[in-house]
Structures are given as structure tokens and as C-alpha cells.
Amino acid sequence: MAIDRRIAITAATLALLLGGYGASFVAAQAAAPRAKVIKLSAQRFEYSPAHFTVKKGVPVELELTSRDVLMGLNIPDFNVREDMLPGKVTRVRFVPDKTGTFTFLCDIFCGSGHERMQGTITVID
């Protein structure tokens, strides 16, 4: 009985000590929204999809691949750039921190249609 009581007191003390941390950890878990995963592929001279919509503050994970030659993805407004490799998936994450419509473009010269190879991201509240 006495032993059970000590155990109960110790457990209660630990719970009090850890309570704050545990609560904040849970809150942090709840506050961090899951990343929105978007598969983005490139093929001379277009992206698929060429337009997508995401939410401000919600992390975005892009799964990038090229269907033919080496391409690039550059989103200057969010300081994102990555190579898009044929036959291989590359992941890049970012958090859109402003609303609006923003251009992404190929920044690796890929041929006669390179200059028109771009798309847009719309970020909403």
C-alpha cells in the first residue's frame, strides 16, 4: 500500500514535470500541418501540371521528375530551385509565405521551347 502510494506520487510528480513539455509538443504537432504533396513532371517543353494551387503557410512537398531530358525547376519568389532528373524523383519542400500567383520556370536550357517552359502557382489564404 505504502509502496503503491509512493509510486502514485512519483508518477504524479513526473506528470507535472513533463506536463508542460508534453502539452507543447502535442500542440506543436497539431500546429504543423502536413505537407501537401504535388507530383510535378517535366517534358520538353512543358510542366505537368502547369498550374497548381496551395495554401499559405501549409508546407508543400514537390515530387519532381523529368520524362525526357534534364530540366530545372526555379520558383524565384520562394527561393526554390532544383534539378529535375530523367527517371528519378527528387523532392523539395517549401512553405508559401505569401498569397498571389507566382511563376515557376525551367532554368536549364533544354532546347527551342525552353523560353516558354513555365507554369504558375497560386497561393491562397
Binding site: T103, I108, S112, R116, Q118
Partner: protein, 296 residues
């Protein structure tokens, strides 16, 4: 109108007084008294030989007309530089070489004794400059002319629009041999600074080149790529983009897409042209005159 005046008179009349830079109108035929401390060169850019399309219904006639216009200058330049995109890109390596050979044959009609070349991404990015080197030689190099040190940088043979660590080391070593006040002119195809990253008008590691150039007090950059006249300062370094000779492009970031400016039948060749540069070596200053392809 300016026939018979010498260069110093020309600058004075033009209101430049030796203060550097930009002339908005063409003043062909200015007679220049070329002393050892001054000279005249011409920049042509973005001829895109092989391009076909509505933005230029005279695609095969524009370059020959530009060559003729340069040859008509009363005072011939001491050298001519083509700042890249000599040819329009093609996936076909045979066609690429054919375009380069045709281009070379046409510009072979230039009267100036010295003509220099450098690649643009359309010439070099699909084969890392291989065909360009076969026809025109090195893609980056230096030369000196009447006391000015010229540096030609290649930010296109790497399709990622990078100079690369090797070229940057080469640049650092070359600059290390130049006095801090030496007059230096840099030729590039792409802008070294972030002019419009959303249009890929930048060099990915261009800031590193500018950092290397910054300790030198007298540096001026001439470049192409954007098919229009444009002037920008990074610190004390002036960057001057030249017009193209196939189609004009819109002002940086002025619209969502970097589509060519439509051909204007009422004003053919509008937005196209080349420039003459009057170099004052002692002052390390450059007076620019813009010339049209044809006189209208």
C-alpha cells in the same frame, strides 16, 4: 551631321564631356581621331541565325542588312564583338553546324579586320559549346586593346547558366594580374546580375563574378541575351545590354511571359539594332551609340 569632327568634339557636342555612357540616338559617320588612348568598337548580339517565325518575316535578311549597316559606318571599328546567340538553337547537331557555317560566311563580309565571338545558350547549351568551339574557338578568353583589358566570360556552355568554379578561378587569377585601377571591360551573354530571375535573365553564380570584379575600380560590362537596350549598376560596375538582331523582347518582368515583341509592319526592324562604343582609355569611359538595322 557630324562629319569632320573628332571624337573629343563629338563627346562635347553630345553633352557627355567624357562622362560616360549612353547615347540614345544613332550618330553614324562620326569621324574619330583615334589616338592611342581612345578607340571605337561595335557590339552585335543575338542574331539567332536559323530562327523562323512571325516575330521576324525577314529572318534571313536581317543579319546581312546589319552587316551592311556596320560596313557603312564612316569610321570602321577597331574590332567587332558578337555577344552570343549567333545561331538559333536546334536539336540537330548537323543543322547546328550548318547554321554556324552560314553565320560565319555572312559575317565574313564585315570590313573590320578583327571580329570576335562568344556563345549564347542557343549556340552552346545543348552540346556544352562543342560546335561553337569548332567554328569560333574558345568560349572564354581575354585580350587587350590599347590599354583596356577585355574579359570574355562564358555563362552559357553550362546549360544551368553557371560560370562554374573553374572559370571563376580562372577569372580570379586573371584579375589578380590587373592593377586595381586598370580599365577592364567584360563581355558576357547573360546578365551577371539578377535582372529578371522569373524569366531566367540571370547567371546562377554571377554574383561571384561581380564579387571578384568589385575591387577593380574601372569595370564595365556589355552583354546580350535580353534583346533590348538596358543599363544597370551593381555598385560602381555598369552593365549595358545591347539590342538583338532577330526579334525584340519585352522589358524585364513587364508581362507574364518573355514572348517576342510582335513584328510591326509599319516599322520593320523596330527594336533591333547594334551599338558602337567609343572608348576613352584614360578615363575608362565608354560612350554608346545605338544604330538601327536600316535607316527609316
Amino acid at each position: 551631321m557630324a562629319k569632320g569632327i573628332d571624337r573629343r568634339q563629338f563627346l562635347k557636342l553630345a553633352g557627355l564631356g567624357g562622362v560616360g555612357v549612353v547615347m540614345g540616338s544613332a550618330l553614324p559617320g562620326v569621324a574619330r581621331a583615334h589616338d592611342d588612348d581612345e578607340f571605337y568598337f561595335v557590339q552585335l548580339s543575338d542574331t539567332h541565325w536559323g530562327f523562323e517565325g512571325a516575330p521576324n518575316p525577314d529572318a534571313r535578311g536581317t543579319l546581312p542588312k546589319a552587316v551592311a549597316a556596320v560596313n557603312e559606318l564612316q569610321t570602321q571599328p577597331e574590332f567587332i564583338i558578337f555577344t552570343g546567340d549567333l545561331t538559333h538553337t536546334t536539336d540537330n547537331p548537323v543543322e547546328r553546324r550548318k547554321r554556324m557555317a552560314e553565320f560565319k560566311q555572312i559575317v565574313g563580309r564585315l570590313r573590320a579586320k578583327t571580329v570576335r565571338f562568344m556563345p549564347g545558350e542557343h549556340d552552346a547549351s545543348l552540346d556544352e559549346g562543342k560546335a561553337f568551339q569548332e567554328h569560333f574557338g574558345a568560349t572564354h578568353y581575354t585580350f587587350d586593346h590599347k590599354g583596356v583589358h577585355f574579359i570574355v566570360l562564358d555563362n552559357v556552355s553550362d546549360p544551368r547558366a553557371r560560370l562554374g568554379d573553374e572559370q571563376l578561378a580562372w577569372l580570379a587569377a586573371d584579375l589578380g594580374k590587373q592593377a586595381a585601377d586598370a580599365p577592364i571591360v567584360v563581355f558576357t551573354h547573360r546578365p551577371l546580375f539578377d535582372l529578371a530571375p522569373q524569366w531566367d535573365w540571370a547567371t546562377r553564380d554571377g554574383a561571384k563574378a561581380i564579387e571578384l570584379l568589385m575591387p577593380h575600380r574601372n569595370v564595365t560590362v556589355f552583354y546580350g541575351h535580353i534583346h533590348q537596350e538596358h543599363h544597370h549598376m551593381t555598385g560602381h560596375i555598369a552593365h549595358h545590354a545591347g539590342k538583338g538582331l532577330m526579334f525584340a523582347l519585352p522589358a524585364p518582368g513587364s508581362q507574364p511571359n518573355r514572348t517576342p515583341v510582335p513584328w510591326d509592319p509599319a516599322h520593320p526592324y523596330k527594336g533591333l539594332g547594334f551599338r558602337g562604343v567609343d572608348a576613352d582609355v584614360d578615363e575608362a569611359r565608354y560612350a554608346i551609340s545605338e544604330f538601327p538595322v536600316v535607316r527609316g
